[in-house]
């Protein structure tokens, strides 16, 4: 597919109302467009865009694609054991399979709006985007037409993961993947979002929003696997709200795209809440991953642990900016934040900006960021067993990510992520003497 001649840029095209959508939703779209026009584009002076490559934010040629006629997506095979899977090509539903326990609502957003309007409304884009991309979240709000709405009622356990594939098809197009997951009291659910494309998606964008709500005692696991083609770009804004005694685990993998930015906010909103924020990024060529995180402890006895691991080849680049905020009343908080970079090339660049703001007593907090190259004694050990230098470096680099992946504590999910990582390592051609 080639670019649509004379298509109107996403920056200028007012989306308008969506046929069949409830009134509140169309009002929300309208408000989103208004907000988008009001907010400035990120600039050099925006602290939240420090070190960012602003030149990547070029939407002049980017437009909404026509409704896809595709009969399927070409994404990953996915998981063998799953509860449901949905596939979208440019936000058009192309695949649907569901084997969920009774009471679980797992529907494409357009259908959820028709059938469960009030429930969607109660949770839809309720949290403000505060980590820099408010303008793009507004653009998403104005344009979003589809996505997934997943609601797990009280006490229901969804054993196997729900998979959602978002496929980008075509040049210079933009899609607005949306995932809203509400895990009710003491429920359990795992959702995997795949963001993929082939090389035809040159100049294309995914501007994704995913909101996660873990109500009291719930266990919510969310994975975003970003493996877009090397000429596509992505912004993903992730808001997680963790209730009393609930556990949220979010994992982001970056292997694809020219540039991807993820903003992840986790709000520990109930006492005893627990949040794991995990990420693995493997950059090569000129790929760039820009990650901004916020661990907001708003309740006592809350726990958060962030571990981001980046492996950087060639001239790839990362920006990590992480803030831990502990509110005045959030006593007995444990908050940890670690970002580690493995520099596989002298030309790669890692920027880290950890931040800490503690307003309560009785708090255990730590943050740390390191960048190092491969350990020579490990390399020697592997080579002394006959493993070639190239293979030895690859094994060690792959092993570096495992610390974060193993925190998923679920063999099937770990295998899935490792398979994406392994594919990425196969694409890496290092010249090693």
């Amino acid at each position: 597919m080639t670019a649509i001649l004379g298509q109107m840029s996403i920056l200028e095209r007012k989306p308008g109302a969506l046929d069949g959508a409830p009134e509140w939703f169309n009002e929300s779209r309208e408000a989103g467009w208004k907000q988008f026009l009001e907010l400035p584009m990120p600039g050099r002076k925006h602290e939240q865009w420090r070190f960012a490559s602003l030149k990547e934010l070029d939407f002049a040629e980017v437009g909404i694609p026509p409704i896809s006629k595709a009969d399927g997506h070409h994404g990953a095979v996915g998981m063998e054991v799953r509860s449901a899977r949905f596939g979208f090509v440019n936000d058009t539903l192309v695949e649907e399979e569901s084997n969920l326990p009774e009471g679980v609502i797992c529907l494409p957003l357009d259908r959820a709006l028709a059938e469960h309007s009030d429930l969607v409304r109660e949770h839809f884009m309720k949290q403000e985007a505060t980590l820099g991309s408010a303008k793009f979240v507004a653009l998403h709000r104005a344009n979003v037409a589809n996505g997934m709405f997943i609601y797990v009622p009280k006490g229901v356990v969804v054993e196997a993961p729900i998979e959602v594939f978002h496929w980008l098809e075509g040049e210079d197009i933009v899609s607005f993947p949306h995932t809203l997951v509400v895990a009710g009291e003491n429920s359990q659910v795992t959702v995997v979002d795949y963001f993929q494309s082939d090389s035809k998606a040159k100049g294309s964008w995914a501007i994704a929003v995913n909101d996660l709500v873990a109500e009291q005692g719930a266990q919510l696991t969310y994975l975003a696997l970003q493996d877009l083609c090397e000429e596509a770009r992505m912004i993903q804004v992730n808001n997680t709200l963790v209730g009393k005694d609930a556990t949220a685990k979010a994992f982001v993998l970056n292997t694809g795209a020219a540039w991807a930015r993820q903003e992840s906010l986790s709000k520990l909103g109930g006492s005893g809440s627990h949040s794991d924020m995990l990420s693995v990024s493997i950059g090569r060529d000129g790929q760039e991953y820009d990650q901004r995180t916020f661990q907001h402890h708003a309740s006592p006895y809350s726990y958060s642990d962030l571990l981001y691991k980046n492996t950087l080849y060639d001239k790839s680049r990362t920006v990590f900016s992480g803030v831990i905020l502990v509110d005045e009343e959030a006593h007995y908080t444990d908050a940890y934040q670690t970002c580690r970079n493995l520099m596989m090339s002298g030309d790669a660049e890692a920027n880290s900006m950890p931040g800490l703001e503690i307003n309560a007593d009785q708090v255990k907090c730590s943050h740390g960021s390191t960048s190092s190259s491969i350990d020579e004694s490990e390399l020697f050990y592997l080579k002394a067993r006959g493993i070639s230098p190239r293979e030895a470096r690859q094994l060690i680099a792959q092993g570096f990510s495992v610390e974060a992946i193993s925190r998923l504590k679920n063999p099937a999910l770990e295998t899935l992520v490792l398979s994406f990582a392994a594919r990425e390592f196969d694409r890496i051609v290092e010249s090693v003497s």
Partner: protein, 251 residues
Amino acid sequence: MSLIVKDLHAGIEGNEIIKGLSLEVPKGEVHAIMGPNGSGKSTLSKVISGHTDYAVKSGSVTLDGEDLLEMEIDERSRAGLFLAFQYPAEVPGVSNANFIRAALQSRLPKGKELDAVAYYKDLYSKMDALGIDRKFTARSVNEGFSGGEKKRNEVLQMMMLDPKYCVMDETDSGLDIDALKVVAQGVNSMRSPDRGFLIITHYQRLLDYIEPDHVHVLAGGKIVRSGGKELALELEARGYDFLKEETLTTA
């Protein structure tokens, strides 16, 4: 067919540590090198295995006639050399099973895949023989292993890779007596007319369990005395100090 070190001069950062060392380990024999701290024992193992921190000034090391010093580290291993490390590295995130598998795979011709079923069968039987719990296959290489577990893991790799010559660098250090016995048993089970051993050790203790054919004493970067297994006992009884006296009297 031997591992031959000839008039080797080598060191690190300009300091010559090995000063004219010559040694021949024929296949089928077990040679022990004993020596006090700082005599050059570990340097010898590093130089033979090709550690790039160490520079060879002159001399040669050959494996069945092949020039080892011309080979890269990994090539030496594939040529049949095995170094059991004194301090094996920990490799986070790389499972022990994948590590050994990669080492075996590297010995196969390009395009040929290791038979995974046969590999695990072989691995498990050797782990059983060494008393290594099977959960160690999934654990990261040496990460969080005790001293004894690390050394057993070295012997496991040695058994799996089936080398022609084994250089064991202070394998007994940090081992309790039970672990020492297991390690020695592993080594003894590998003794064969097709394999040579060079066992580097500070103490005679290991040689109670692995009986050497020859014992060499390393001091000041060269072999100062060679003899049979009784030499080890003599060293144990008299300490390394008598070497100094002897050197003095013969000087």
